[in-house]
Symmetry: D2
Subunit: 129 residues, 4 copies
Amino acid sequence: MLNPKEFTERDKFGLYNGMEVISVEKGRAKTRMEIKAHHKNGIGTVHGGAIFTLADLAFAAASNSADDIVTSISATMAFTKAATEGVLFAEAWEVSRSTKLVTYEARVTNASNEIIAAFQGLGYIKRKV
Amino acid sequence: MLNPKEFTERDKFGLYNGMEVISVEKGRAKTRMEIKAHHKNGIGTVHGGAIFTLADLAFAAASNSADDIVTSISATMAFTKAATEGVLFAEAWEVSRSTKLVTYEARVTNASNEIIAAFQGLGYIKRKV
Amino acid sequence: MLNPKEFTERDKFGLYNGMEVISVEKGRAKTRMEIKAHHKNGIGTVHGGAIFTLADLAFAAASNSADDIVTSISATMAFTKAATEGVLFAEAWEVSRSTKLVTYEARVTNASNEIIAAFQGLGYIKRKV
Amino acid sequence: MLNPKEFTERDKFGLYNGMEVISVEKGRAKTRMEIKAHHKNGIGTVHGGAIFTLADLAFAAASNSADDIVTSISATMAFTKAATEGVLFAEAWEVSRSTKLVTYEARVTNASNEIIAAFQGLGYIKRKV
């Protein structure tokens, strides 16, 4: 399994947008993003795409391991609260894993631990080698 | 309603990531993104978050008008095909609109018109003034 | 591929709830249900579970063929309009098919062709020997 | 708030399909269903529509209270494991509540506490009186 720094650097879209993997273990990972002007949408709150990406990055870091490549096949997000400043975190954890499929959930929260979004993602497992 | 150029410039997250609103009318909009290295994930394909954002931006441009602000409250995306190079487009259209809620769908396609992702989004309508 | 009558009779949950497959071809199918008192929820409208099932049945009929068994792995539904009486229809169609996965969409409509719900489903393909 | 027996009896679709609300408190509820032949799909496992309904019923019981009517506006379900016999349970809990919207999650489990499905639902709040 890659360490958080390696995950952060390999994920170019997350990196370009100031997102960081801050912890990763088998089936669980956490990401972080400091809100900047370039994360905002047309009405001045953090873009749904940025919030989604932060959760999806946690999902990717948590679901990929030394032996498997897991590619996201679908994801759902409920946006529960607008965010405008400070830091956002996402944490993803495994709900189920079969031979070919994984299900994950994630939460995006702010520094006050308020829930900003709730995520559910499905991944397809490709065995390496 | 804003014109495509105004939408593009107001949406800072889309703008920062090289996304552009290329057409907008009431209930329908189209966006475009040229795939660059900074759009990729850790396995070298376009990041789910970038694909999601491109569709979400089309949803936002299509659903917001002169009189309403529509904020995304949930969204689902099925990732049907990996993308690695060239141009991606997203087109969003309105499925339903009630007093308080809208439902939209969107498709992300590549230059060969292959479907890269299918999106469904719900928005909450806040009346301006 | 089974004909509509065979599909209807094999799907015990649909059958028990008065749902019928009325047409089926490769990648597309249609179902029908006459609203009865036993389809309602606690506030007197058709239960989300009944609407979901009608769409899911169309998805199953459309995605299963002579050579494959497709099992639903995830589904999303936007409920756009309440229904209380008359007939409901669902139509499902294929959005994508890869070696292992299919994506479908479906619409539930009433007799006036108003959209009651919009559905997106993913299925996993098990090859029949 | 209605008691579990009242919820069970008011929800005609759940009742007709042998589903029962077994506990309910503000923001949390549990349902139960004994698997019968009429819950099955065409391949002999419990129908996705039945599993969805069991979770949706828990969501409805948990989200409706003395003062509000909450109607489901969208829902997503990941089907993680097939079920064929015994008893299924669903438990739903509130993730967020704003003035107009609620987000819920639910799990469907079997008697061995294995996860059969993971559910996310959004509801729109209509104030009574």
